[in-house]
């Protein structure tokens, strides 16, 4: 198994057979698919940039309402990130260690916010939440925690599966550490990359969420973009593309940096959302 996987993963050994094999197995279709995907995803970005003009980028920061909207979105992003991580990390660790049979159930529950219409969720939340909470933007943050669950849980789950959780916790408790010490001083440092990627995914979500914010009548950054759009379309587009590229660069940095760290300690590549099976199998 080890030899086979190795032989397939790198075509450096036995070059003649493998090269022939590779040509047969990796025909043009890969490049056709990636080319179509590249065109589909980059062309609209380019078209919009061309339409908006580069100069729009400079002036976007001085527009009325920009800073209050950014400030609200920033606070919401911080709040959502903190609550989501405080809620999801202990739960995910606990389930992985104590009730692994529940992992699949947890996976199914945390996928729900992707498919439940935010519009419907907004209707229900507005109905049940007390008026004192409705008057503050914190309600929005609490709802965002629910929306962030799918991405946060999957990133944390990927991180946890890449660890030898059992050995770590056993070693920690045999040295006399309690549950909270183990979580704080052993697991969290090991999960650093997973936490970073889920943070960026949560921030991407909060900075992009429009539906619930607009229905709850809060002027967050995306809502401001839309309101401002009526005054100056170029600038609002420039602002949103700017946010998109910035988030992506952050994610790239985290994953590249995290992989380098992980390689140094003998681990595999950092995964953002997926499960690092090849590494966890230990073959």
């Amino acid at each position: 198994m080890v030899a086979l996987t190795k032989a397939i993963n790198s075509n450096r050994e036995d070059p003649d057979r493998k090269r022939a094999n590779a040509r047969k197995r990796f025909p043009v279709w890969r490049w056709v698919i990636l080319l179509i995907a590249g065109v589909y995803f980059l062309l609209p970005l380019w078209a919009a940039l061309r339409f908006a003009g580069i100069r729009a980028f400079g002036t976007v920061f001085v527009q009325p309402g920009f800073w209050p909207a950014i400030w609200l979105s920033t606070r919401l992003a911080i709040m959502t990130t903190l609550i989501t991580l405080a809620l999801m990390v202990p739960t995910a660790v606990y389930v992985h260690l104590r009730v692994p049979a529940m992992r699949r159930l947890l996976e199914s529950i945390t996928i729900l916010p992707i498919v439940i219409p935010p519009v419907v969720l907004a209707v229900g939340v507005l109905q049940v939440s007390p008026g004192s909470l409705k008057a503050t933007p914190w309600l929005l943050g609490l709802v965002y925690v629910v929306l962030a669950m799918p991405f946060a849980y999957r990133a944390i789950d990927a991180g946890l599966r890449a660890l030898d959780l059992k050995t770590l916790t056993e070693a920690s408790s045999s040295l006399g550490a309690g549950w909270s010490t183990t979580l704080w001083r052993v697991l969290l440092p090991n999960l650093r990359t997973a936490l970073l990627s889920s943070t960026v995914l949560i921030v991407a979500l909060v900075l992009g969420e429009f539906t619930i914010a607009s229905l709850d009548l809060y002027v967050t950054f995306p809502v401001w973009i839309v309101q401002f759009d009526q005054l100056n379309a170029n600038m609002s587009v420039a602002a949103s593309i700017f946010a998109l590229v910035l988030t992506w660069l952050f994610l790239m940095l985290i994953v590249t940096f995290g992989t380098r760290q992980s390689r140094r300690t003998g681990g595999g590549a950092v995964t953002l959302f997926t499960v690092a099976r090849a590494e966890t199998k230990g073959n």
């Binding site: 995803f41 996928i111 935010p118 991407a204 973009i225 790239m252």
Partner: protein, 307 residues
């Protein structure tokens, strides 16, 4: 099967499913204490709001009495059209990006020395999957609008997509735009399944003389199918629940259920019909629930191979 179990026990914590089952029911209840905060949050933030919507769907907004009027209105006339259009859009915007996303995922997954490519695509997917609303609509208006960049190019090549029946502001256009966040979502959710596809299986098939199509027909396809369908169902739910993008693009010219619900929230209602929006919401949740049941069943089938 023996191999799967072996992997599970060497890797997983000692309290695997079999051990857990052997223990007393009381202790397994006690073990659930650690998930209480999460369960409470999900109940308050997700389950109870849904239940409230479901109950209100059957209540007269003024008297609070039980009634079927809301549901009746919600399933007829313009609202019935809305549900139909929503379903058509969701099927289109889940199957096409599903296939395309799976191909992209497979292309980057099997790319040799493709670590950088993989990272670029996966991180970009994480960002694009959360992109939507007015900015996304604008991207496409600037490129595929009736007199926009790409439309112009195609026109110069002698192909007028608007004469061919395409319009950005109808179902075909909205589908094209939805693919912008659906394809990345598909890439993210299908990758774990692809990682379960062992290279050894392919080798084994080739050693037995299988051709590529035979491998896919008899090994890869059947193994991947449950996960693939599960992911497509997820995409279906995501397309059905999307609101901001369609609203920004069509401004309500296509009757879509999510837009109709939002118009109730914005206060555009006839007196006495306030709860029709909730009945519509309930309808969506019921559709989603059916989809989720299939999703869970398919995941269970897929799990057999993905351990």
């Amino acid at each position: 099967m023996t191999q799967t179990e072996e992997v599970e026990t060497t890797l997983g914590p000692v309290t695997g499913p079999r051990v857990a089952r052997a223990r007393s029911a009381g202790r397994s209840m006690a073990k659930l204490v650690g998930v209480v905060p999460f369960a409470v949050y999900v109940a308050l933030g997700l389950i109870i709001p849904m239940i409230v919507v479901a109950i209100d769907a059957f209540r007269n907004p003024n008297t609070g009495a039980f009634t079927f009027t809301n549901v009746n209105i919600a399933t007829h006339g313009v609202y019935a059209t809305g549900i139909r259009e929503s379903l058509i859009l969701s099927v289109l915007a889940s199957v096409i990006p599903g296939i395309f996303g799976a191909l992209i995922a497979y292309a980057i997954f099997t790319a040799k020395r493709g670590a950088f490519l993989r990272q670029v695509v996966i991180t970009a997917s994480g960002v694009f999957a959360n992109f939507g609303g007015v900015p996304l609509a604008f991207l496409f208006i600037a490129s595929f609008g009736s007199s926009a960049l790409v439309t112009g190019w195609l026109n110069d090549l002698g192909f007028n997509i608007y004469n061919a029946g395409f319009s950005l502001y109808t179902l075909s256009g909205v589908t094209l735009v939805y693919m912008y966040f659906q394809i990345p979502l598909m890439v993210l959710v299908i990758l774990p399944a692809l990682e379960g596809l062992r290279p050894a299986w392919r080798e084994a098939a080739e050693n037995l003389g299988a051709r590529t199509w035979q491998y896919w027909r008899y090994v890869g396809g059947p193994v991947l199918m449950p996960s693939f369908l599960g992911c497509v169902l997820l995409l279906f739910g995501s397309a059905l629940s999307a609101y901001a993008t369609a609203e920004a693009l069509t401004a309500g010219t296509i009757p879509l259920t999510s837009i109709q619900i939002a118009s109730f929230l914005n206060g555009n209602v006839i007196a006495g019909q306030q709860n029709v929006g909730k009945a519509l919401g309930l309808g969506m949740v019921v559709i989603i629930a059916i989809v989720m049941v299939f999703y869970v069943l398919l995941q269970r089938r897929a799990a057999k191979w993905l351990r």
